[in-house]
């Protein structure tokens, strides 16, 4: 179930996991528990992503309609989705943003990401995006600068991020925490989801 607030044609579109469960998966109570349920939900999300094709690089996985998220499902849905789209042989060039309720989902997602060494950008609805999951202090600092700047132009990374800034930016892109444009500049995923098509 795509979120109508993010119509096709923009860079970001949202998959409302709660609506997906109630609708296409016919789960009356939106509790993301047990691994088999998590697998079914992840496969449904992947189906939505495949239908969206390559027109949107940023997908918002919206968990705000989910009441309970256990660790098994956090691993099956969030961690395994990120894992699948991390390597070069990923099924699509898609980046992920997570939208969640911190006190309901934040801990479970953070723990499963830590277990697998993954990180993602998360919107907890408090007006700012956060990096969830393990990252070095340097990576976090570089990501924060990019998040505030929204976009770092080609050749500006060292001046904005300091010595080794370009390598840090590259590392964020490899971890799918930032988007690299063809010309060499980089965008924050949160900004990219709001902007017209990337160039």
């Amino acid at each position: 179930m795509t979120d109508p607030r993010h119509p096709p044609g923009r860079n970001g579109f949202a998959i409302d996991v709660g609506a997906l469960m109630r609708g296409r998966l016919s789960v009356p109570n939106v509790n993301l528990v047990t691994r088999p349920t998590g697998r079914v939900v992840r496969q449904a999300i992947e189906g939505e992503l495949a239908r969206a094709g390559s027109r949107v690089p940023v997908s918002v996985i919206d968990l705000t309609g989910v009441r309970v998220l256990d660790f098994s499902c956090a691993d099956e849905v969030v961690a395994k989705l990120l894992l699948r789209y991390l390597p070069p042989e990923r099924p699509g060039d898609i980046f992920f943003l997570l939208r969640a309720v911190e006190e309901v989902h934040g801990h479970a997602v953070g723990e499963v990401l830590a277990r697998r060494g993954l990180a993602t950008v998360c919107d907890f609805g408090d007006g700012e995006f956060r990096l969830l999951g393990p990252a070095t202090a340097e990576e976090r600092a570089a990501w924060s600068v990019l998040e505030r700047s929204e976009r770092i132009g080609a050749g500006s990374s060292e001046s904005l991020l300091g010595a080794g800034g370009e390598a840090l930016l590259q590392r964020l892109c490899e971890r799918r925490l930032a988007y690299r444009h063809r010309g060499g500049s980089a965008s924050a995923l949160s900004a990219l989801a709001r902007l017209p098509s990337p160039r």
């Binding site: 109570n29 509790n31 528990v33 047990t34 088999p36 309970v68 660790f71 691993d75 006190e103």
Partner: protein, 295 residues
């Protein structure tokens, strides 16, 4: 007929007595005499069911004499015990006139767990009941109902994913005025599956060599988060339950085979690891969450 006297008080502290008295694989018909039962918690109820199931493996279905105390019999009724014994015991007709079933004061009745759908049902049920108990009685923050549901989900999944056998879950809150001076919530989960040692043996026994046994298997799962699955994402359930129970200053113990392992808070007594106990088929998980004292 062999008569097994059920202790007058049966809870997480003495369920081993029941296992020891019940034995296993004996062919004599067995009667569980619970007439003098005055106090029982969810661990005791599940232990009775488990002991009955094991006693029935000898061939003849065991019998049970229900408590003569109207209060205890009524409580067992409300906890779904009478329904749960069907298929395990030839139960004696109730000696007391049953009160109408009032599910509202029960946190979670005895619920069989065999499939993932059962786990969903438990989570759905407990959410509608646990909020008031956790907030008003245990004085936990509002979000605790989510964490409580996650604990139940993970412990129940342990049965489905690892036990390879039937299991039950039950939970209730109590006022432990004399014992602790506080309210508590007790969660009991029990299965008669293959136990931790057998579940982990194929994947992990070799690396532990001669040390491999029930206690080592419990340590591997409890302390190291090992499971029979090679996937690094597995094994988080027990680890996360340990963390959450510790945040709430609770007690968590797992009994399997001949051993028991526990995270013991300061208010409780008991060693972190016990070995050489009477063999228990499957696993029994006990969680006690005390009222937030605001310390």
């Amino acid at each position: 007929m062999r008569v097994i006297e059920v202790p007058a008080s049966l809870d997480y502290r003495n369920i081993d007595i029941l296992h020891a008295r019940a034995g296993a694989g004996e062919t004599d018909p067995v009667l569980f005499d619970a007439r003098r039962l005055r106090w029982i918690d969810p661990n005791g109820m599940l232990a009775l069911l488990g002991a009955g199931r094991v006693a029935g493996r000898g061939g003849a279905r065991p019998r049970i004499s229900l408590p003569t105390s109207a209060k205890v019999a009524g409580y067992l009724d409300r906890m779904g015990f009478s329904r749960a014994v069907a298929g395990i015991f030839h139960s004696a007709p109730p000696r007391v006139r049953r009160r109408s079933v009032r599910a509202s004061d029960v946190l979670l009745e005895i619920t069989p767990i065999t499939t993932n759908s059962d786990v969903h049902d438990v989570v759905d049920t407990v959410q509608s009941r646990a909020g008031a108990i956790l907030s008003n009685t245990l004085r936990y923050p509002p979000a605790a109902v989510v964490q409580f549901s996650v604990i139940l989900s993970e412990v129940c999944q342990n049965i489905v994913e690892h036990a390879d056998g039937p299991g039950w879950v039950a939970a209730q809150s109590y006022n432990w005025t004399r014992r602790l001076g506080r309210h508590v919530a007790v969660i009991a989960v029990s299965d008669l599956g293959r136990g931790f040692r057998a579940s982990l043996a194929d994947e992990h026994s070799e690396r532990f060599g001669d040390r491999w046994g029930d206690a080592t298997a419990l340590e591997a799962a409890f302390l190291l988060g090992l499971t029979r699955f090679p996937d690094i994402g597995r094994g988080q359930g027990i680890q996360q339950i340990r963390k959450q129970v510790a945040r709430w200053n609770g007690l968590l113990s797992i009994r399997s085979g001949t051993a028991r392992i526990a995270d013991t808070p300061p208010w409780s007594q008991g060693p972190p690891l016990q070995e050489g106990l009477r063999h228990f088929p499957g696993a029994q998980i006990n969680i006690i969450l005390p009222e937030n004292s605001g310390d």
